[in-house]
Amino acid sequence: MTEIYVAMKDLRGALRSRFIIGVALFVPLLVTALFFFAFGGRVSEAGKGPGMAPVRTVVVNEDEGQMQFGRLVVNTLTSPQLRGIVNCSEISDTALARRALVRRVADVAVVIPAGFSAAVLDSAGRAEVVLLSDPVKTVGPAVVQAVLQRLLDGLSGSRILLNTYRSAARAAGTTPDSRVIAGLMQEYQAAAQGGSAAVKVRAPGAGEDVSALFRRMMAGIFAGLMVFFAFYTGAYTALSLVREHEDGTLARLFTVPVGRARILGGKMLSVIGTVALQAVTLVVASTLLFGLRWGQAGSTALALVGTVVASSGFGVMLASFIKTTRQGGPVLGGSLSVAGMLGGLFTQAVPNMPAAFTRIALVLPQGWVIRGWNLAIAGRAATDMLVPFGVTLAWGAVCFLVGVLVFRRRFV
């Protein structure tokens, strides 16, 4: 039980330390929140992408005639598929549309002029839709313009179809039948509205939407931060042995009727406990706060255990070489930052990193830990993680052994 008492005492000290709480929990969550909102806000609402607010659009349809291509444009802009991206309402005239822009109740106004359908059908005519926008806005008008452009491209296709039919009729010595033309245009309109062919944006993984891709990307960034700070917490907590040595409490502990190895064991246990508490808290908090996806439960558990073992072991080893707590800050900060960078903790979400960088990362425990997390986040099964998990455990065990031997030599 002595080991537990020593560990509990240290754990309580860690939980009371503003520095530990700041470094272990607050900073990773804060940095992730900054990334998160910088990249587009909350994504935890199912089915929504990390985008912006819908573009407020008004449309004026002055078109007339039998074919009603103007109505096709209105229907497209107000279609359910665009809800959430374009929020469109139809109004009666252009003056009202301009007023809506001036009063900033609309970002974009679309005016379909009279004779629009006739221009579409006329092989020599030019069918145009007028787009009015607030000059301050850039993204919203571009979105509406892209939607209209796609529609107008389709109408150009229908004109080619009509011209082809007319040429064929002339070549056959017949007069183009207006009923056939109307039938062709109706078929086209139905096809355009039904969306028989369309582009849908998907993430590389099967069946994922954009928000899921975003959540995975954020999980990757967060994992890098979490691993970096887990290593820092491990080393800083292990440094408590040096701190106790300076404060005289370690010497006092060595006068109680308990073996020194057991006291050291308790100190090591506190390092593992603190890092484990930190890692679990961060995973749970990031899941609840940001909706991050960490992969299958088994894979996440392996990545967590790997993080705890490697960062505790590495921290104990690093702290064992530090003589005074004054050395501790610069030595821990410097060495863990360098190891974190080389281990790819800050760049693992960056695509197409040079192969050499990836190889260097695998020389360090940080590289293997983050590799495990990447596999978990990618949705890989626990069995796929056995190699990085095993390497991580081995790293942790070796570092831990070295650290304990050095500490024993110093204090036992």
């Binding site: 039980m1 002595t2 008492y5 005492k9 309580r12 000290g13 009371r16 330390s17 404060d247 005289g248 409490t249 010497a251 006092r252 502990l253 060595f254 006068t255 109680v256 009727p257 308990v258 073996g259």
Partner: protein, 313 residues
């Protein structure tokens, strides 16, 4: 049950080329307060570090209640409470939390632990402040908790390493009274200090240490008798005190004359006869005596007599 609470035999401990403790021997009898008196660097703390199990001796041995500290370390430590020289507590924990932790380290648990913590808080007068973090306490309050932590398991022997260094007179008085109270309760105490008055007030017996050796050991009266009935005369002189000391060494009845902090300390068998001679000789040589102090024989005199230096050097 052994007669001696602590026995030290031919204990030697060196740090590289520096011999901190060179073959010392003494014993602390059961139920007595025994002081190790000596200036800083005399080897007191090294000696008690070995006895409390912190350091391994290079040679010799020590035992606590009959248990060798080298061969039966755990048994020896169970009988021992150690009050370190520096306050060794966790500043981010309250007094109560500290005592609970240290009690557990000594194997206490459950209601026994709670009872002993309550008793110790009461004994050191910190019941009202028990929930405050130790880091917010005054130096004296920290010292009291420091002592309480060593006594939770009701040890048969307690070692106190200069427990009154750097604290206010009120806290010092409290600690000295508490040591006497512990002794009244039958606890054996090994007390180290470089304050002669504390050693005189508390101790049944005293060992004087200097440069890693025990140079004298016995009761206060036995130690004083070692140097005879010598009186210490302190003189402040104008001019060069070294030359004055040299001149006064030749005066009849003077057994020793040394310079300490700019003053001349003279040991003399009969101060009434010697002091006029000192003035006479000073006048012959052109020295002027600014002030004179006469001190009856005490441990300070003993140390000066045995080492040629003052205890506070």
């Amino acid at each position: 049950m052994p007669d001696n609470a602590i026995e030290v035999r031919d204990l030697t401990k060196a740090f590289r080329d520096v011999v901190a403790v060179g073959g010392i021997s003494f014993e602390v009898r059961r139920g007595e307060v025994f002081s190790l008196l000596g200036p800083n660097g005399a080897g007191k703390s090294t000696a008690i570090s070995v006895i409390s199990g912190l350091l391994q001796p290079d040679s010799g041995d020590a035992s606590v209640m009959g248990h060798s500290v080298t061969k039966e370390s755990m048994a020896a430590r169970r009988c021992l409470g150690v009050v370190p020289q520096e306050v060794a507590l966790y500043n981010d924990m309250s007094a109560r939390e500290n005592l609970v932790f240290w009690g557990r380290m000594y194997g206490l648990s459950g209601s026994d632990l709670e009872r002993r913590v309550d008793e110790m808080l009461k004994a050191v007068g910190l019941v009202d402040r028990q929930k405050g973090r130790v880091g917010t306490y005054s130096g004296g309050m920290k010292r009291r908790v420091n002592i309480a932590a060593a006594l939770l398991h009701t040890p048969q022997v307690v070692i106190m390493d200069e427990p009154t260094v750097g604290i206010d007179p009120q806290s010092r008085r409290h600690i000295l009274d508490y040591v006497k109270e512990l002794n009244r309760q039958g606890m054996s105490v090994l007390y180290t200090t470089h304050y002669m008055e504390e050693a005189e007030e508390l101790s049944n017996r005293i060992a004087i240490m200097d440069k890693g050796k025990v140079i004298a050991c016995g009761t206060r009266d036995e130690l004083v008798r070692l140097v005879g009935e010598q009186t210490r005369v302190d003189l402040a002189v104008t001019g060069e005190p070294d030359k004055a000391a040299e001149a006064w060494r030749a005066v009849a009845g003077v057994s020793r004359a040394t310079v300490e902090q700019g003053r001349v300390a003279v040991l003399a068998g009969d101060s009434n006869a010697v002091v006029p001679r000192l003035f006479e000789r000073a006048a012959q040589l052109g020295f002027r005596i600014g002030s004179v102090g006469i001190q009856e024989p005490n441990l300070e005199t003993v140390f000066l007599s045995l080492t040629g230096r003052a205890l506070r050097d």
